[in-house]
């Protein structure tokens, strides 16, 4: 009895050590990406300028008059197009950095679980994407004179970004290893991430519209399901994307 308890105690101790080392490695990767970005600001500034340009192009391309500007469907659609395109830029860049000086090999040489590298990269990408989104929202509000300060909308943006980044980080890790790496990511990512975009746009419209929660909930559920499924799948297959 005592022996059994002891061994199970040891096993749980060992598991705790594993979790700690997983979190340590994941944290190190996030810290590394954030401090590099804090210094160069290359990624976020590129994403932001790009986002502003898209806002401008939409203004002229759709010739948005004051009434349509406030149309929640248009607002949600334009916002998500901005996020998706700017996000691709960020994902590509964040993986190219790992490929540049062979850093990916450096990461793989470390005695850590490979999925901790995936989650570290994904979390870093999510932080960048959320930062861009937080900056874009007030700018959009001012330029188009719409109120985007809506808790529901923020939740949708968080859920949508998680799903987008979960798949995006995995596919970007594949895309950078291909000869056609710069053009490949959107082609791989967009058809796969379509359910997220659809659900996110619909839910955003719902919140901006002030729709009943009952109408929005299916979309939120879909987002959550997508986030869970794809985080789990990426967790399982990331090894195959980086190993040789």
């Amino acid at each position: 009895m005592t022996v059994e308890r002891e061994s199970s105690y040891l096993a749980s101790e060992k598991n705790a050590g594993k979790v700690a080392s997983f979190l340590r490695a994941m944290g190190a990767v996030v810290w590394k990406d954030l401090s590099a970005e804090l210094r160069s600001r290359e990624l976020i500034s590129a994403m932001l300028v790009f986002a502003l340009l898209v806002i401008m192009i939409f203004n002229f391309a759709l010739d948005l008059d004051p009434a349509t500007r406030r149309d929640p469907t248009i607002t949600a659609g334009v916002l998500w197009v901005i996020f998706v395109f700017a996000g691709t830029l960020g994902l590509n860049r964040s993986m190219a950095v790992e490929k540049d000086r062979g850093c990916m090999d450096g990461l793989l040489l470390a005695p850590v679980d490979r999925s901790s590298i995936y989650f570290g990269k994904a979390l870093g990408n999510l932080i960048f994407m959320l930062m861009v989104e937080i900056i874009v929202l007030p700018i959009y509000s001012v330029l188009y004179n719409v109120n985007l300060l809506n808790l529901g909308l923020l939740v949708v943006i968080l859920l949508g970004s998680i799903g987008y980044v979960a798949v995006g980080t995995l596919l970007a890790a594949m895309a950078v290893q291909a000869r056609t790496r710069d053009i490949l990511l959107p082609i791989l990512l967009f058809p796969v991430v379509l359910p997220v975009i659809l659900a996110a746009v619909k839910a955003s419209t719902g919140f901006l519209d002030g729709s009943e929660m009952e109408l929005i909930r299916p979309w939120l559920n879909l987002l959550i399901v997508y986030d869970i499924i794809f985080s789990a799948v990426a967790f399982m297959v990331f090894d195959y994307v980086v190993e040789e």
């Binding site: 798949v167 596919l171 291909a178 056609t180 490949l184 082609i187 058809p191 359910p195 659809l198 297959v237």
Partner: protein, 233 residues
């Protein structure tokens, strides 16, 4: 390694062609004309059958991908690629035949209905799969990435379908309990059902036959590559 064409495959070829001829005959002469839509409804038999084959290809690619990742055997990479290549052709036929039917019935070539959207997304994922493979030189990596993408894609497609389905659909659901108010919906008479079932069977055989041929081709290509490497040394 050197193998001649298996007898069974030849039999299957002949059998499939015969099935296809009979199915074509049934579509045009055996099945009765649909009362409201007229002859254009005959597209339906092959339309659904090609969609079915496209889906088989997609599922086949995902299953082959999972097996490849576990076993790391090149054979399964060839199987996955074969499934995608066949699927792509049939999904394309499916979309085109659908458009031909939709023009007179819905008065438009195209609508963003869940099934149409899903078929298109499937086609795009297939195309992305091929482009991904094209961009990678190392055959092992190509196989691994193909497998991973097939798996990710196969999970995304049903989600696309469900999300698009939450909108109201106008696509008729002939099989299973559909919304009878959908434009172009109809009840199948027994002769129609027989023709439909026969078409499904025929296209399943077409799929198997092509699949077999394509896998054989892939192995022959491997064999040629091996001989090339041997002579280079």
């Amino acid at each position: 390694m050197e193998e001649s064409k298996p007898r069974l495959l030849t039999v299957l070829d002949v059998f499939t062609v015969a099935l296809f001829l009979i199915a074509t005959y049934m579509v045009f002469f055996y099945a009765p004309q649909e009362a409201v839509m007229g002859d254009v409804q005959r597209v339906f038999y092959f339309h659904v059958a090609t969609g079915w084959v496209g889906m088989l290809g997609f599922i086949g690619a995902a299953v082959a991908g999972i097996i490849y990742l576990i076993k790391k055997d090149r054979k399964w990479d060839i199987v996955g690629l074969a499934a995608v290549e066949i699927g792509i052709v049939f999904i394309f036929i499916n979309i085109v035949t659908g458009a031909i039917w939709a023009r007179p019935i819905w008065n438009t070539w195209w609508t963003w209905d869940p099934r149409l959207t899903t078929a298109t997304v499937m086609l795009l994922i297939y195309l992305a799969y091929l482009m991904l493979r094209q961009g990678i030189e190392d055959p092992d990596r190509r196989a691994r990435f193909g497998a991973v993408y097939a798996i990710v894609g196969s999970l995304s497609v049903p989600l696309t379908y469900f999300s698009a389905r939450i909108f109201r659909t106008i696509h008729p659901i002939v099989i299973g309990s559909g919304d009878p108010s959908a434009t172009g919906s109809f009840d199948m008479s027994p002769l129609m059902t027989q023709t439909f079932m026969f078409s499904l069977l025929t296209f399943t055989f077409i799929f198997i036959d092509l699949f077999w041929h394509r896998i054989r081709l892939g192995r022959k290509a491997d064999h040629v590559e091996q001989l090339r490497l041997q002579t280079m040394e």
